[in-house]
Subunit: 70 residues, 12 copies
């Protein structure tokens, strides 16, 4: 049986924290992708307004299995 | 509301210039993707024939928003 | 005519060898993608059990043409 | 009208957490810089004493707009 | 007197958070190593199950002094 | 006599082209800095709206001499 | 229970092939280390003599679990 | 039949533009090298004088085929 | 006596395997270069046709001694 | 109390040695900056004339503390 | 016979020079390790006090042979 | 007039010091190459014997002008 995984890059955003930004992106991706097995954060950024962080952003790579019979 | 962006990698090609190669890839991607917000060029290459550039190629990362209700 | 290629990242796995892991991923990808033109291996890893390699894994980038009329 | 941004590198330190280290650096920078628009964390380190983290440190890049009439 | 530090790489794991994963690895390393002076996180990953993070993992470099009379 | 150069990072933006974005940043920097000797582009990005490039952005490093008697 | 893994770097050498060089290093490491879970090849080199490869060398990172009660 | 390509690094310079700098280097290289097949730009720099770009410079890698009977 | 080595970059190609691609490039290089002492593979790629690998390609750095009396 | 450090990049030059180039840049920077705490050399280059080194150049990052009451 | 080398990372420190920092670390490592075959410097830093370098630091990788019968 | 520079990679070796290793390689290269304009050290290594450095090695990139009429 063949095992192949696909890796995609997402950017999660949140007004609360980087952890929330990551969780949001995972939750969103889980709606359409089964079998997510791992995540790696590759970049931590944020946009600011008047000295306050407005949006936390997380660039992340997400791996999910692709069934052999697909 | 959840905001998530997806990042994909494209290679645009053109016989005219690198700028045209990039514009072509963006135009092509826009046919199937809504909400492209940014682009980053990650590699500039070209193939040659008899000392003349035949194809300009641009490797680029393209970010587009994924609607929260998807 | 517009020529655009897309680049995706896959992880091939095999109990036999890295070459088999790569071939498996290509074979699997070919079922749903036409016009794969190139592959680049970006990472060679393996998981072990009791001092023996159990799974060879190959992270690879795969380029395939996207038809202009898509 | 010309739009130019400047990017500087800061190291925030805090005895509490990496988030606090980053917020401190932003707060400090905001006293002398207007128009900070973005931040990117490029390194996460900490110094220890007797097995306990004494100082969390965050190396970060900070972008702020430079007014065209400057 | 000679001052030499050694740098090792550890992977901390935790079901709770990345911070807990790092703290666990430091606590574990402190049992056998004296004089840990610094830590740098070089990779943030996680493994998932059914759309939920199961294990937070932190790859980190850890520096500790080696006594000159060793 | 001492010769020291300083290197700063700027982001030039333009609605027209990457070249214009770079020239704008250099022109802007020249108003306050004497003796700019070199420039290196480290990143080429753009923001888009409705499939059209709205702002070309160039991250660049700029070196300028610092007079020894400063 | 605490789970911590350690990562070390080895260079395997073999007169036969890169695969043999890697297997040799794993076999050697397994004599003194329990619980090796993964390996990543980070460099492929070889030394030559008279146009023939004399030694295949593989720089690899090797991860193994460290028991919590150690 | 054996197919081998050689890769060399050139720096093209021009007072006009980066494109002209690249074309010049390719034209110059074509005088002594047959079978140039590809080029990759690895660095974009420029030297300035009085706030004006004096020389555009392009560091590039150039691949050309080496005939098997050489 | 002076010892200097030169490092060049070659791309070996083969329809059979990556190992054959590397051996071919070394064999080809040995015809014109004496004293090749080492090789390092820096990139593993392949071109495909109809889901089959057509050409294995190996980018490699090759070091060879330059005699002091040259 | 808030502790923030700033990191700047300098290029020191000297006709004598790389060490002298670095010392010069530090001495020059010390005239206007208090509290320099660390330096990291990121690039070692030199310009030549007739086969002789004319200028040793050191690209370096320099960190200095910014007082909290600034 | 199996040949395996291990690579470790050390940080040598010295109040005199980077060369002395490296020599110190090698001398220290030689007390407990036989068969050190090579060293590579990966980072050159220094800490300062009142505009004077107080400690030169060298991050280095050190390779040493591991006997097959170990 | 066309200005093109070529960049080559050399490894200088010396039993005395890294500086001597670099000077040797430059002296050697100057015998066959006119117009060397710059050098960049990209790697500092050494081979050891019995805890003593036997050979200092410097990997360096060397740029030299190629006359337009060549």
């Amino acid at each position: 049986m063949t095992t192949v995984a696909k890796v995609i890059e997402l950017v999660g955003e949140s007004g609360i924290s980087w952890d929330d930004a990551m969780q949001s992106a995972i939750r969103e991706a889980s709606k359409t992708l089964d079998g997510i097995t791992g995540v790696e954060v590759v970049n931590w950024t944020a946009s600011l307004d008047n000295g306050e962080i407005r949006e936390y952003k997380v660039n992340m790579k997400l791996a999910f299995g692709v069934r052999g019979d697909r």
